[in-house]
Each structure stands twice: as C-alpha cells, then as structure tokens.
Amino acid sequence: MNSLHWYLLRRLVLLLFVTVAVLTILFVMFKLLPGNPLSVFIDSNFSEEMIRRQKQLWGLDAPLWLQYVRYMWNMLTFSFGTSFFQMTPVRDIVVEKLLHTAAMIVPAVVLSVVLGALLGSWLGWRRGSRREGAVVISLLALRSVPSFFVGIIVLMVFSYNLGWFPPGGMVSIGGQGDSFLETIFSVDFLHHLILPCLVLMTREITSPALLLRSTMLEVKGSDFLDILRAKGLPERRIVMHATRNALLPLVTDVAVMMGFLFQGQVLLEIIFAWPGVGRELVTALNDLDYPVAQACFFVMALIILVFNFVADVLYAFIDPRVTLS
C-alpha cells in the first residue's frame, strides 16, 4: 500500500460514512417532524382494521430499529418502493427524471467548460489589459445575478415576446421519440434545450474561465514556452501549448460542477417546465408523495457525494506534483 492507495481508501470510507449519515438524517427527519406521511394516504373513512393492515404493509408496526435497518437496506439497494400517486415503482420514475436532468446539464457543462477554457486562456494571456479587467468583472457580476431571474427574463424576451423559442418543456406535445436517445437527438429537443442551456452557461462559464486564467498565469512563466518561442512558433501555437498544460486543474472542477448542478438546477427546471429530478421533487412534495420525494433527495445527495469523490480521486491521479497529506 503506497500513499495513493491509502488516500483512495480513506476517501472511499469517508464517502460511505457521509452517505450513511445523510440517509440517517433523512430517516430521523421523517420520523421526528410533525406531519405523518400515513395521514396523507389514510382517509378518515378507514376502519381501525384497515389502518392496522396498511401500517403492517409498510412495516410501520415494526420496532424503530428494525424500520431503520430495513430503510437503510432499501435505500442502499435503490429499492424505493411504489409512488403513492403514480402507482409505479419509484426507481423507474427517478431514473427517467435523472436522464432528463442530465440531458440539460451535460450539454451546458461541456459547452461552459470548452468556451470557458478558451476565454480563460485568452484572459490569462492578455493579463493586465483594460479589456481583460472588464471581462473578469462582468463575468463575476453576471454570476451573482440569480440565474432563475435570468431564466425568467430570457423566457419573457425570447419566448413570449419574440416567439423564437418554446415557452418551456423538453419536447413539444407528441414530439417524444420512441426511446430516450431518439428524443434527445431530435431537432425539437434541441429547440427546447437552447434557452435553459444558455442560462446555465451564463453562470457556469465563470469558474472554468477564472480557473484557466490563473493557471495560465503560472504556466506563462515556464521555460518550455521560451524554447517554443526560440523554435520560432507563432504566438497562436504557443498559447495552445500553454493551455494544454493549464488544463489539469479544470478536470476536477468539472466533476464538482456536475455534482453540484444536479441539485442546483431545481429552479431552472421549474421555470422552464423541464421534467427533471428537481421538478419531480417539488411536485412530489406538493402532492405529499413521500416515497418519490425521499428517493429524489437521496439520489441528488448521492450524485454530489460521488462526483466530489471522483474529483478528489482525479486530483490525486492526474497531477503527479500533488502531494497527498
């Protein structure tokens, strides 16, 4: 076992520990807080006998510790039970909604990273110029405007007033393809994707741009660039070489960004009526459909934890200069 193995093992144990802790908090929350999920389901017309049978069916008559053990087992094996209202397995619902969310996030992240990296390397190269300062400040200011308000404005202008884009949804009515892949490779889907994707990008482009800008500043002083210059390469090619070396820290940034966005896009999903996992959570809570809400929460939390874990691991693997302590 070298230090890298120890590091990975420690991270993995931490991941499990935090997952179990978050699940426990979720369990305690549903047990302690006032408002009984059972009361949603049970009508005042139910007889004592029916209530008893329903409790038995859900395992609510078992002692608390047994309920906890069963709950843990179910969550960790992704058996989320059946939705109160849709009467379908919660797992199927959650998987479908997650795919929809990913269909919005992945293109936005890829575009943000590519464009952000280009912009950042330009900013780093042109450091100190007046235009560079203006771009950095406007990027930061743009990021601090709440993205749900940006979403509302964009919808008002480009959808309601100009009519260039549909006012929300993922596909037009009847535009659903036979499979998920067929759906997301349709022109109709792209038409719906453009606005939410742009709004996400106004926010997400900042972090790769600033990150690449600062690493570019470090790389810029390296000796290998002088050698390239001595070889007579044009400035444009030299920037490309420098960028490639400045890309490393970006990889972990992307992992963290992906994880965060799976919970951060809830507001945008509501505004653009995007049938993703965040919108499903809000709908489930409004319908008091607790099995679905619980599963959505768990899946979002898990995705963040896993992506952060991946970021830590990549960080250790990619850059040999990083010391693990």
């Binding site: 931490l14 935090v18 978050v22 929350m29 408002g35 450091r127 930061l140």
Partner: protein, 304 residues
Amino acid sequence: MTPAHTVAEPGGTGRRGVLGTLAHTLRVIVRYPTGAFGLFLLAVFVIVALIGPLISPYGPFEVVQTAQGRVARLVPPGSVALLGTTNQGSDVLSQLLYGTRVALLVGVISAVGSVVLGTLIGLVSGYFGGKVDEAIMRFTDVAFGIPFLPFALIVISVAGPSLPLVILLVTLFLWRTTSRVIRAQVLTLKTRPFVWAARAAGASEWRILFVHIAPNVLPLSFLYMAIGVQGGVMLEAALSFLGFGDPNVVSWGSMLNQAFRAGAMRSAWWWVIPPGVALSLFVISVFMVTRAYEELLNPRLRET
C-alpha cells in the same frame, strides 16, 4: 473561486474590538470605487428595509381600488399605482418595499447566526486539533453532503412553512464554509510567535484562543458575514419562489412566485421585473463590497 486566505489583515486588529474592526473595515472598503458604490446601494436597501412600511402607499396585501371603485387588477404602472398592480389588485411597489424588510431580515439574521456558529466551530476545531478537530471535520463533511435546496424543501413541506424555519435552515447551510475557512486560518495563526509569547506568559488555552487568536480571524469572519447576507437573501428568494416560503409575509421571492404562477411573464412585466431587479441589485451590491474587501484581505488577488 475561493482565494487562499493566507494573510491576516496587515497591521493586525489586536485591540480594536468587534465594532472598531467593523468601522476600520468600512473605511477601507470606501477607498475602492466599486466598494463605495456597493456600500451606497446597500445603505439604500437598509434604509428602505427600515422605513419601507412607512413610505409605502398601501399594505402588502391591501386591495387597490380604481376611481370607479372596482378592484384594480393588473393595472400597468401609472397614476393608480406607481409600479402597477398584481392580479389580486395588490400594489407592486408596496409589496416590493415590504419585501425588502423580509429579505434583509432573513439575510442579516442567518448571516450573523451562521458566522458566529462557523467562527466558534472553526476556532475550536483549528486550535485544539487532534480528536476534537477530527470529529468536527467529519461532522462538517456530513453537513457538506446534504444538498441544501432539496433538504430545505423536504423539511419545510413536513414541518410547515414559516419565516423562522427558513432562517434556521439558511443558517444551518451557511456555517459550513465559514468554519472550514476559519479553521484553516487558525491552523496558520497558532504557530505564530505571538501565540508562543502568550503561552510563555502563562495565558490559559481559552484566553489564547479568544483574546489572541480570535481578533485575527475577525476580518475574515466579516467577509463571510457579508457573503452570508447575500446567500441568505438568495436562498430565501429561491425557497419562496418555489412556493415554500412563509405564506403570511411578502418577499421578493414570493412576489416572483405569484407572478410566475399567474403567467405575468406573458402579460404583466411590471409585476415580474421589480422584485427580480431588487434581488439582483442587492446581490450585486454585496458582491462589489466583498470584492473590494477581499482584495484588501488577500494581496495575492491584487497581483493576479
């Protein structure tokens, strides 16, 4: 971007006390043009939050009537209502003014609460180290593993929406970053000579921590308090926009929620734009102030 805070404020803040440090901080921020402008905007928001209900033409839920005695629904900005009315006949300007108070109330209380909590946790964790530190840091890891918005939505839907609950949830969300940053700062501070000197002079551990180390992390705590006000206002707006805010008060978020549900994006821009602009302006003004302050705290940021 989280800059590395390796340097305490130059000159030290040893004997200034909390209010003295705050006054000094404000004086320095005003030296930056953006900082001064941000502070000016913030001052306007604070004044509006204090006197808003006095100058607002109507109550937040009051129904405005037209000259003919009808309910003034969706009236565009004009003589009846300066910023127009909602579909229920409420005055948008009045709601905006009342909403400012709610926004600042949530922002300030949760920021102060979370910074006090985060600073104390960070101080204890960083200074005592060992098992205490390990336990606290694992606890922080768990807190970081909880996605805020989904968590808050579930708690509110089970326990029922109210303003104190929103403040509590936001506080519980904001302390995490503060405690990590303060801890890192304490780790470097506790190896400085002035700490050895205090120990050699016979100061107790708690005295060293609160009299000698704590004043040096105060500037950083203020920075995170400002960022916390911004975060608190944004999170309250987000929760209210999703319909999980206190139904008995008007906030910028709840105005946007009502407008969104009523389809005002299509028909009544005057109902949508003011709360969104107020929210954005507030967030940007805090950003400008913290940016100026951050440059001051972290000279490395100034170079690059």
